[in-house]
Symmetry: none
Subunit: 224 residues, 2 copies
DNA sequence: CTATCTATGTATAATAA
DNA sequence: TTTATTATACATAGATA
């Protein structure tokens, strides 16, 4: 698409990845919306953004209704048939492409790929260990805070952070209570689509334009 | 698209509607797949065809895992779920079934090992993302907080954490000042504590606690 | 992060099988 | 229902603001 053909593999550049996510998420929601209207079917779509926020879409019904309908299906009807077929097909194509690439360029052996993955895992795990340690500090875990000065240090940091957050809260409260309109815009797609815990920063001139306004029926309320 | 511009409204002709569904469903799944790979995010997609059959897609993780992650989100990030308990129970059941299915067959090829590593990496990374999110609360970067509910949420977390650290500090003080008898903790908050720890240790990754660390469909690079 | 623009890559409506 | 063809409508990568 666009100027170049894009390989379907993880985009390593963080900025590009986020931008692409933002664009494609909107595209995907649009397609889901069109499908649900054109074919009059229930569609539920849940996406977790790279930053951990969740984006939702569902047709006329609420997400929970659709999830409920899904989990209530008899086991034999809950098949993953569609998905599996598609993936097999898609991956077959990818493999062919990869094969050609490998033959033409650098022959990456399975072994070295395995090794690469293992290294990646080790890296990730050590990072996780580190983060867990940092998080444990806030649990008051005795094994993490062993001296008084450490405790005082953390106390100080937390106090400062708390102060900042309260300040921020105050600012936001004033914004909401003042005569002017609130700075955040509540999104209303025909169904419940929302960047939950997110917010539409600009005016409502994005993906909403192509969707006719209608009363939202679902009830996944955006809490922002 | 195609020869004419299509109005986004229910297709009345049954045959056309079904054909369109079939094609667009595949297109939507493909897009969802690309998004999940390109941007390294979790995506879950559920569609009910006009004839009532269900079509699914989910990225690296199993659909149960992603739905679980969604259901387990803190309320302010997702909106109220009226049937949360029900969904959790139902998803748990699905998890068990998937588990049994998975145990039935285990081809130990290099390919499947590669896959397992890839899945492991994806899991680690998603965990890192979650933890980063939790750690960001303690960064005290006010620009991250743009809504009142976010501010209140952070404030609450920080208050509880501060309590924890002060408790720890008190314990340490007593240890230093009276090196004999074991320190008696005289600080309140036995029940509050549980809540805070619950967040700090749980949060969105609490999903990992009740959903298996395996993909039930470990077949290809991406599974169902 | 969002918007806009342009050149291209894709998806797909209509049709036929 | 799925597949193949083809003409068009759309989506979007990359650059830029």
């Amino acid at each position: 698409m666009g100027r170049v053909k894009l390989q379907i593999k993880r985009i390593e550049n963080t900025t590009n990845r986020q931008v692409t996510f933002s664009k494609r998420r909107n595209g995907l929601i649009k397609k889901a919306y069109e499908l649900s209207v054109l074919c009059d079917v229930d569609v539920a779509l849940i996406m977790f953004s790279p930053s951990g926020r969740v984006s939702l879409f569902s047709g006329n019904k609420s997400i929970e209704e659709i999830l409920g309908r899904y989990v209530n299906l008899p086991e034999h009807e809950r098949g993953r048939l569609r998905n599996k077929e598609f993936l097999i097909k898609a991956l077959g194509k990818l493999r062919d492409e990869a094969d050609q690439t490998h033959q033409a360029a650098s022959p990456v052996s399975i072994d070295s790929q395995l090794e690469e993955f293992q290294q990646e895992i080790v890296k990730c795990k050590s990072r996780i260990v580190d983060m867990e340690k940092r998080l444990r500090i806030f649990d008051g875990e005795p094994s993490e805070i062993t001296t008084l000065s450490q405790a005082e240090y953390h106390e100080q940091i937390l106090e400062e952070t708390l102060k900042q957050v309260r300040l921020r809260k105050q600012v936001l409260q004033e914004k909401y209570s003042s005569p002017g309109p609130p700075p955040t815009v509540q999104v209303h797609l025909p169904s419940d689509t929302a960047e939950v815990s997110g917010f539409v920063t600009g005016s409502s001139s994005s993906i909403l334009d192509w969707i006719p306004q209608r009363d939202p029926q679902g009830s996944v309320t955006t809490s922002c």
